[in-house]
Symmetry: C2
Subunit: 161 residues, 2 copies
């Protein structure tokens, strides 16, 4: 008796989770969604749609930009992706695979994006909110400045975070 093993466990598990989520919503599992999900979950960083689409198109040029757009919106609705709009105005997406909440440090020189968590910050936010009679559900916290290397350089190179 032969058994086949899929060694890409992480991916397979994600796909199954996805299929479950999808069907629970009365939606359908499609090749396109699976491919986009796979590529998106196996990537890191904060990418705009054009970048994600480019990556998808490398694997399957038949998949349309609109489908990538709609799938990222779907993933966001399902909690698998998070949409970010930093001060440069671009709409970016990041995977929530790691799951943990975090905020961002953004280098004005090279564009590097560093993630951080700070419990003190979170609790301070709630204290401030309570002080004004608010109940907080989420927040946006971005720190803009220069990273170590850029703080020294005269002409920092632009790269992506």
């Amino acid at each position: 008796m032969k058994l086949k093993f899929n060694f890409k466990k992480g991916k397979t598990m994600e796909s199954n989770q996805f299929k479950t989520l999808i069907s629970e919503e009365g939606l359908k599992s499609t090749r396109q969604r699976a491919e986009i999900l796979d590529i998106f979950l196996n990537s890191t960083g904060h990418k705009n749609l054009a970048e994600i689409y480019a990556q998808v198109a490398k694997t399957n040029p038949k998949i349309g930009y609109t489908t990538v757009y709609r799938t990222l919106k779907l993933l966001t609705r399902l909690g698998l992706a998070a949409q970010r709009k930093f001060a440069d105005g671009e709409t970016r997406y990041e995977s929530t695979a790691e799951g943990t909440h975090h905020d961002h440090l953004i280098c004005l020189g090279c564009g590097k994006i560093v993630e951080f968590e700070d419990d003190g910050l979170e609790s301070l936010q709630h204290r401030i909110a309570r002080r004004h009679g608010f109940k907080i559900f989420h927040h946006r916290m971005e720190l803009y400045g220069y990273c170590g290397p850029c703080a020294h350089k005269k002409t920092p190179l632009r790269r992506k975070g």
Copy 2:
């Protein structure tokens, strides 16, 4: 000998400051700019262009939307206005007349926007940045939740902040 006095001192002073700033930049002082500035500085809150234009048009319907747009951009460049983009995606402007830095609490129910300052928060931000080798120049900090009234109501009314 007759002297004329303008009793709207605040306004006049702002106007003079503005004329100085304007001419320092090689720009010209115009009736439109003066009117828009006057209306903008004598208003409070976080308004989008359409709202500011509507207010301007009430006083002088001859002033074009484009001029209001350009003047708000100018005021932003001169530091008299600040552009804000909260999570609803709308572009808003607020006067910096008071001058002090502040962050925002935003009610998801009624849209109310409450401003706050917290030195502890500011210093914590710098501590976090230093921890990651960053030098911070500005930040964005918005807390989203429900204000006291909305936290209780079943169907909060939408109003503007």
